[in-house]
Structures are given as structure tokens and as C-alpha cells.
Amino acid sequence: MNKICYINSASSISSQNTFKNKNFFKEIVVSNERTTPALEPNYSEIISKISIRRMSKITKMGIATAQSALKKANIIMPDAIITGTGMGCLENSEKFLKSIIENKEEFLSPTAFIQSTHNTVGAQIALNLKCNNYNMTFVHGSISFELALIDSQLLISENQANNILVGGIDELGKKIVDDTLKLENHYKNGIKAPLSEGSHFFIISSIKTSNSLAILKGIEIYHKIFENEILNKINLFLKKFNISEIDVIILGFNGDIWDKYYKILTDNLFKNTPQVQYKNISGEFSTSSSFGLWLGLELIKKQNIPKEVYLNNIKYNKINTVLLVNQFKGTQFSFILIESAL
């Protein structure tokens, strides 16, 4: 019943120099800043002047990476566009909210309101392409991107789509991020990774091509998992695919007290598995696990783990099967399993 899902392309804009950059592994920067903004390309080369004028950062990042993912996979019109975003269009939401408060509800900008709905990026991509197909947006914290991926798998298994554009996008915004930092600094063991932003788009397809990056073997999300359950849940997950050994495990360590979940895994089941982190270079944001997936695909492509992300430095022969595990403050758990398509 379940058709094979291939990941046929991937594109990234992040706080690292990842957009269309083949040399990324040699240019990784580990920052000590508390927030790290995305490194954005020159959009005038990608988006027309008439379209770009109203777009906020999140929309520009989304369109640029969506276009890139489509081009790399040779797709002109996707059968569906599915996006995940944790905080949505923060810039415009904050702009509108601020002006409501400061101007006492007068002289408000309609553009800011219109562009504040969570599905703005997905809608703008559709508008740009004149795509009338299925268009969905998931907004659920750190599993927003994973929910979008699950929906894409479902569409493929229903024979409703062959090539789906799936993305995870979040922007820093201005004040809410500052207040978030204040809160994290207030905690004894708050988030240590910088707070950041980014956009990652992929083509998920039922069709294998010579450029297929990997197979999306499985993905699961959980609202809650207790500490004494996590090993069992991972075992059951891997058992479904007859996988006994993982080549690399990618974990969403961000420095807060909830990293204990990852420690349970690295101390036990994955003690002798190459362990990789990414939020020290991508920063933490709701859809940062989409950077994690993008990184996993790069590891498979390059068969090499950069030292900046390599946690336990043990020898490895090959990188074919990669497991990604993420969670946020003890909820919003996700497991993603990918395998080389070769």
C-alpha cells in the first residue's frame, strides 16, 4: 500500500551560507551570538520587482528555496504545495500588532495584515506558479515541517500526487524573539543554541530519478513521550523498516534541559553510532529540523561529516541510513528515517 517516496531535490537558506553553495562544508561558522539571521541571496535575480515589493523576509526566503528545489528536480508545476511554519509571518504580524497599539487602531496597513496569515508563503508560491493544486499549511511548533512531510507521503500513497513541493520556513521577527530570549535566559537551563531562521524546500516524489537524493523511508510524530518510553518508541519505529543499524543519527540538541532525551539515545541504543548535531550551526527555530533533513541529505551525498557537527568522532565506512530525532521542551517529537537512493 505504501509507495516509495523519494527526495528528489533540496534547497536551503539559513544562517550558514547554504543557498546554492556546494562548498558549504568548508565554510561552516559556529556563532556565539544569541540570534543569527539568515544569509539571504540577492532576491532581485530570483523574484520580479513587481512581486517582491510586498514580500516579507519569510516569503522571499520561501519563494527562493521553492524555486530552487523545483528547478533542481526539473519540475515546472508541483502536484501539491505543503508548508510547515511554527510562528508564521512574524514580521508582518508584529508590524500590524505594533501599529494597532501605537496608533490606537487607526491608520493601519492592510498589507501587513494580509501578509500575516500563516499560509502566506504557500499561497505566494502558488500565485507565482499559477498553481491550482492542493495547498496546505501546518502550524504546530517543532513538528510543523514533519506534519507537512507526512501529508506529502499520504498524498503519494493515495495516488493523488507524484511531485510535491514541501517546505519548512520560519523567520526571526523583532520583538517576540527578544522576549523569547529573555524567557530562556530566565530559566536555569534554557536554550543555548542561537535563535535563528531559515527556509528549506524539498521535492518529495513517487518517481525515482538519476538525481534522487534519498528515500524518505519513514516519519512519525508524537505529542508526548516520557523519558522511559523513548528507547522503546525508537526501536518500534526502526523495526517497521527492518532496520537494525543506523549509519548516522542526527539529533536536535539545543543546550536546554530537554536534551536529556537525546542523551538517553546517545548513551544507550546509539552509543556506537556516529552522532551529529546541527542547531549549533543552524540555530533553533520551529522548523530547524528541516535544516537537519537538508544536512542529512548532504551527509549522504558527500559521505563526510564536518567536524563542527560531529559529536562523537568515531570512524565510519559509509553513510546510507540516517535517522533524525527532534523534540521541543519534552513535546513535539519527530523521527525521520532516510536512506540513500543509490
Binding site: R53, E106, F107, L108, P110, T111
Partner: protein, 85 residues
């Protein structure tokens, strides 16, 4: 009126994010909507807010608005007639 027209052109460029244009690119009589500058209904709403905020004019009738926003010339003479600020 000439000053007002120039002021309006600058405002339009700023408020509607037309940073790729300069004042010289906007002629007094060219259509602002559809052809010409290619503005749309959202821009019209932004201009209505600008009329209220900067000139104290409350424009609520969409049919009247269409005529007023036809060109810089029309917009300037409407503001001249009705401004409270």
C-alpha cells in the same frame, strides 16, 4: 499643485514599496492601476489609509475611489479640494 504631485509620487514609492522606481518614472497622467504602474486593490486600500493619515480625508466610496486613484493628476486635485491637513 506641482509640489503636491511630487510629494504624492514620493509617498507612493515609499508606502507601496516601489523602490525600483524614482519620481521621474511616474508621470502625472499615466494610469496608476492595472496598466501603467500596475497597482492593485491592496494598494488602493493603502492609499485610502494614506489619505486619512496624511490629509485627513476619509474616502469610503469604492466607486469614487476608483476615479480619484486614476492618476497622480486626479489624486492631487482631489486632495487639494478636500484636505483637512
Amino acid at each position: 499643485m506641482k509640489e503636491l504631485k511630487e510629494e504624492l509620487k514620493n509617498k507612493i514609492i515609499k508606502e507601496l514599496n516601489l523602490g525600483h522606481l524614482s519620481v521621474q518614472d511616474i508621470s502625472d497622467n499615466d494610469p496608476l492601476f492595472k496598466e501603467g504602474l500596475g497597482l492593485d486593490s491592496i494598494d488602493a486600500l493603502e492609499l485610502i489609509v494614506m489619505l486619512d493619515k496624511d490629509y485627513g480625508i476619509k474616502l469610503n466610496d469604492p466607486i469614487e475611489a476608483k476615479k480619484v486613484f486614476e492618476s497622480i493628476e486626479n489624486l492631487a486635485s482631489y486632495i487639494n479640494k478636500n484636505r483637512l491637513r
